[in-house]
Symmetry: C2
Subunit: 96 residues, 2 copies
């Protein structure tokens, strides 16, 4: 199991413009055969700070996601409106 | 619904020492009546970077969590070993 947090930072004046892009990205990604979960959240203190929480069975599934038509088309359109570079963290489950 | 990402940064030499503290914090928190989910992950690139992904029905449930005996006791013990301050983000679901 691979957990991912990906964060986008969008200029305030473009938040409305990226909404349909985010919506399509979420919808299309959830249809991917190997997507376990793909949820998008908005920072309560910053309406341009978008946080994707994702779960994939393995790295190959994430790589396949990043190679899809919808990812390759939508992410650059979203990133045109970013105010700083996005970040991502790849994580394993804690087991003690 | 309230989603939370809380991040801890632990000194490498104390990762083993905080493991039982994290384990107890996860176990006790999941027993809280109003906890929807409370999962802990570790950054694949940094074994001292711990990421809690939490879900609560509302802010009152999160505030109650922060006032529990286990939170008040365990978090300061964990933080004694941090290499920098932790961070947290409170988020709403994206709905387009």
């Amino acid at each position: 199991m691979l957990k991912v947090i990906a964060q986008d930072f969008i200029k305030p004046e473009f938040v409305d413009a990226v909404t349909p892009l985010h919506k399509e990205l979420v919808e299309k990604t959830r249809q991917e055969e190997r997507c376990v979960s793909y949820d998008l959240f908005i920072d309560q203190k910053d309406s341009g700070h978008f946080v994707f929480i994702e779960e994939w069975p393995d790295r190959a599934a994430l790589d396949a996601h990043c190679a899809t038509e919808h990812f390759a088309r939508l992410v650059p359109l979203i990133n045109k409106h970013q105010r700083k570079d996005g970040t991502y963290i790849l994580m394993d489950s804690f087991t003690a």
